[in-house]
Structures are given as C-alpha cells and as structure tokens.
C-alpha cells in the first residue's frame, strides 16, 4: 500500500471489492439461504393475506390514495422482513467467521477497522437489496398491486433500510459470542421487531383496538420506520421522519459496533485469550 492519497483510495476500493466478492460468492453457494429469503415472506404474503384479506379493513391513509387490499399493505412490511433477516444473517456470518478464525484475517488487514466493518455492511446491504427485489418479483407474480415506478423509487429506501438493519446485525455480533447463542438472540430481536411494528397492521388500528402500549412500542420501534420509509418510497413519496430515524438508528448502531470491535475501547479487547 502506498502512502499517497490515490494509493490509499485504490487500496480501500480493492478491499471493498474483495469483501463484496467473498460475501456474494458465499451467498450464491448457499442455495438454502437464497430460497428461504424468498419463501419466508412469500408464505406470509400468501397465508396471511388470504386469511386476513376480509378481516382487516385498511382505510385510506398516506401514502395510499385509494382503498388497498391487505396484501398491498403487507408488502412493505415483508420487504422489511427480508432486510431484517439479511441483517441477522450477516451477524450470524460474522459470529461464524469469528469461531472459525477467518474474522482475524479481516481485522488484521492494514486498513482502519471502521472501514473494514463498513465494507462488511455494504456487502450485507447489497445482498439485502437484491433479496428484496427478488421478493418484489414474487409479489408481482402473486398479483400484489404495487406501482411499477415504485420499483425504482424504493431503491434508496431499501439501501438505507438494509444498511441500518445490517448495522444492527453488526452490533449484535459484538455481544453474541458463540454460535449456539445465536438462535435465541435472533428470536429475541426478529419477533419483537416484526410484531411490534407497522408491518402487519397500521398504528391507528392498534390504537383503535385499545392496545395503546403496543402502539407506543411500535412507534418507537426502529423497524416500524424502516417499513414506513419503504411504504412511502414505493409510492414515490418521502417520509422525512422515518428516513431520518432509520438513518439515525443505522449510524448509531454502526458507531456502537465499531466501538465494540475496537480493541482499545471495546469488549473484544477484554476477551479471554482464546478469542
């Protein structure tokens, strides 16, 4: 690596490309992961929307301008679910890398650690966005009526949502020390994040049913804001509140994860000698 500015940039780009290539190669080899990434939300879409289509009435609230069917309401939440699972998968992969020793290789590379972790996040975000589009294709095949131009306008929201949820995964990987602890942690994160959010029902519906505390939990849940940001973006609209909070959450989670991975100040530096 040269010390010049262009040399540092070239080094940083090569490292990013290497990390992206590795993550994509590994993802494409894991066909089960690829299939489950699409099948999981599809099951929710088919089963839930069939069951609740006539039970839940969804009134006209922004960004919707007409009455919508329940499958249309659910779609942004399920896209959020795809991103959330990808974030957890990234975290699981990091814990696995730590157990098998490959994480050391990354952490001893001659680049700032925050940058190496940012590259990991970029890889997780890219995979999340690709899976979200794969699910959008499935939703289209099942006749979910989403605006076609929404496919383009939703891209920045998918990227930001993917980044923030991958950052959450990165943060979790600091504290989840062993693979066997991971299943419990995932359930502890994924289910509350998904159910206490607007993925399945709008906030006003929760309030209407008298579940004030659940409505409050959903309002402060960062996943709600990821879902709402995506919902608005699918209709070419911008939710400043949800976008701002998603960005804030992502940056905060990333900052805390970088601190956790810093041997000077983080928990990893205090680990026992087998780490």
């Amino acid at each position: 690596m040269t010390g010049s500015h262009s040399g540092v940039l070239a080094h940083a780009s090569l490292a990013l490309a290497a990390i992206l290539r590795r993550e994509i190669t590994k993802f494409l080899r894991q066909t089960g992961r690829l299939v489950s990434a699409v099948v999981r939300p599809t099951l929710w879409l088919v089963v839930f929307s069939a069951g609740f289509q006539n039970v839940l009435g969804v009134s006209i609230t922004p960004p919707y301008e007409n009455y919508i069917t329940y499958d249309v309401y659910m779609a942004p939440g399920l896209i959020g679910m795809v991103l959330l699972f990808q974030g957890m998968q990234s975290s699981l992969a990091l814990v696995f890398d730590r157990e098998v020793g490959t994480l050391r290789l990354l952490l001893t590379a001659p680049l700032p650690r925050w940058y190496l972790l940012l590259c990991k996040l970029a890889a997780g975000t890219l995979l999340g966005v690709a899976q979200a589009y794969a699910f959008l294709l499935v939703a289209l095949a099942f006749g979910v009526d989403l605006p076609r131009w929404g496919w383009i306008s939703v891209l920045p929201a998918l990227a930001l949502g993917g980044f923030s949820l991958a950052a959450l995964g990165l943060l979790l990987s600091v504290y989840v020390r062993r693979l066997e602890n991971f299943a419990g942690t995932m359930n502890f994160v994924i289910f509350p994040a998904f159910f206490f959010s607007t993925a399945l029902y709008p906030l006003w519906k929760l309030r209407e049913s008298g579940s004030e505390w659940i409505a409050w939990a959903a309002r402060v849940n960062p996943f709600t804001h990821v879902v709402e940001m995506i919902r608005f973006a699918l209709y070419g609209q911008f939710s400043a509140l949800s976008t701002g909070l998603t960005l804030l959450f992502g940056v905060l989670a990333f900052g805390l994860a970088v601190r956790g991975y810093d041997p000077q100040s983080g928990v990893l530096g205090r680990a026992p000698r087998d780490e």
Binding site: G7, K26, R104, P110, P263, L268
Partner: protein
C-alpha cells in the same frame, strides 16, 4: 557500522486478565533475515503476545513498533509490514485456494496483474500451484498450512509472525514447513518470529527466546542457551528453564 533497523521493537508489554498476568514486561527486538523462535510451554503468554502484536488485543502498557511504525498510533502502517499465520486455521473452507488468496490480496491493496502474479508466486513457493482451483475443504492439514503461509507472504512483509503453525501436523509436514520458512529467511531477508512449545522444530533457529509465565527468561543463540543452562540439548535447556522455575 550501524545496527540494522529492527523489524519489530517490543518494549515493556504487560497484559492482565483480571488477576492473571499473562504478559509481564516483555521486551524484544528482532532483526531482518533472522529466524527467531519464541519457545514457551502452554499458558506462557505466547498467544497473548501474538494477539497484541497483530492488533487484535491492546496491551495494558508498553509499546510495539514495526519498522518504526507504532502499532497503537498507526496500526495500518504497522500491520502493512506484517505477515501473520494464526494458531487457529483462518482459511475459508468453502472457497477455493485462489479465492482465499484473492480475498487476502484485496485486503492488502493488491489488485489486477499484481494480484495474479502474487498468487502464482506464493503458490509456487510452497509447491501448491496444483491446488489453486480446489476448495480448501478438500486439502490436507499440511497443505492448508502451506496455503496460509503463502498467503501471509503475498504482501511482501518484513516480518512473518507464526503462532504455533505446526499444530496438528504430522512430523514430516512439520519439518517441511520449518525448512521452507528457514529458506525464506535467507532468500528474502525476512524476519521470522515462530512461536511454539515443540523444541525440536526450532533447533536450527538463529535465536531462541524463552517465554515463561509472561516473562522473557532466556534469550540468545541456541548453542548459548544450551551452554548457559548446563544441559546437553536445547530441549534439556528448555525443560530446565521452565520446569525448574515452575517448581
């Protein structure tokens, strides 16, 4: 005549885990073109020292400079001059040999034609060109270790750190690796720090440093270490130094 610039200068390193003092004022300076063996029984502090030298852990006090670059103040400059072979295998078993090496090349800023050349040269150096397209999972333990050494040398480091690199290998593979690394020391003016508790594999080292209970208790050429201990072999000297003190 001026003394050669040390490839690594370790000064007064201490590290504790709670009440256990893993390193207790370790100071060491290594020159280029020398094979230095870091001998110590299990639990002597070798792995802790390596984790600090590679920036994975931070010492409670003391400093590490790699070719003048302070590891704490300028870790990227210091790490750029190190080649590391970890005690625990660190190859991605699901990727091919070439993919593993390409990943490492990217992390070290080696791309394009240079990357292709570096991969070819590294594999040829350890006689592993044939394994290039094989998944690492299909390789023997000895060949995996050779790939890890080849990988560590791709960035042309000034110092090669090896933490118990022969762990789990049969005697023939062990001897093979030691010979390979010894040759590289001469040919490339490479500094080597080889940590182990197996005395027989480092009898031909230029220098032996004995670490025991977190402290350097002996440091010198193997013949001098043997002579000072009163034993007839390096193994005898090592046992006298570590078991005698353990009593």
């Amino acid at each position: 005549m001026t003394a050669p610039v040390p490839v690594i200068a370790i000064d007064g390193l201490t590290k504790s885990y709670g009440k256990v003092r893993a390193l207790d004022g370790v100071s060491l300076s290594l020159e280029p073109g020398r094979f230095t063996a870091l001998l110590g029984p299990n639990g002597a502090g070798k792995s802790t020292l390596f984790q600090i030298l590679t920036g994975l852990f931070v010492a409670d006090s003391g400093s590490v400079r790699v070719l003048g670059a302070d590891l704490a103040a300028d870790p990227t400059a210091a790490l750029a001059r190190l080649g590391i072979v970890f005690q625990q295998p660190s190859l991605d078993l699901d990727l091919t040999v070439e993919q593993n090496l390409a990943y490492h090349a990217g992390l070290h800023g080696i791309g394009g034609r240079r990357r292709r050349d570096a991969i070819e040269e590294a594999l040829a150096l350890f006689g592993q060109s044939e394994t290039r397209r094989q998944r690492v999972r299909t390789l023997s333990g000895g060949n995996r270790r050779k790939i890890e050494m080849a990988r560590a040398l791709m960035s042309a480091p000034a110092l090669l750190l090896l933490d118990e690199p022969t762990q789990g290998l049969d005697p023939a593979s062990r001897r093979d690796l030691v010979l390979h690394v010894s040759r590289l020391v001469r040919e490339r003016d490479l500094g080597v720090l080889w940590a182990t508790h197996i005395v027989s594999e480092v009898e031909a080292a230029d220098r032996v440093v004995v670490l025991h209970r977190g402290r350097v208790i002996e440091d010198g050429a193997p013949a001098d270490v043997v002579a000072r201990s009163g034993a007839s072999t390096l193994e005898g000297a090592f046992l006298a130094l570590t078991q005698g003190r353990a009593a």
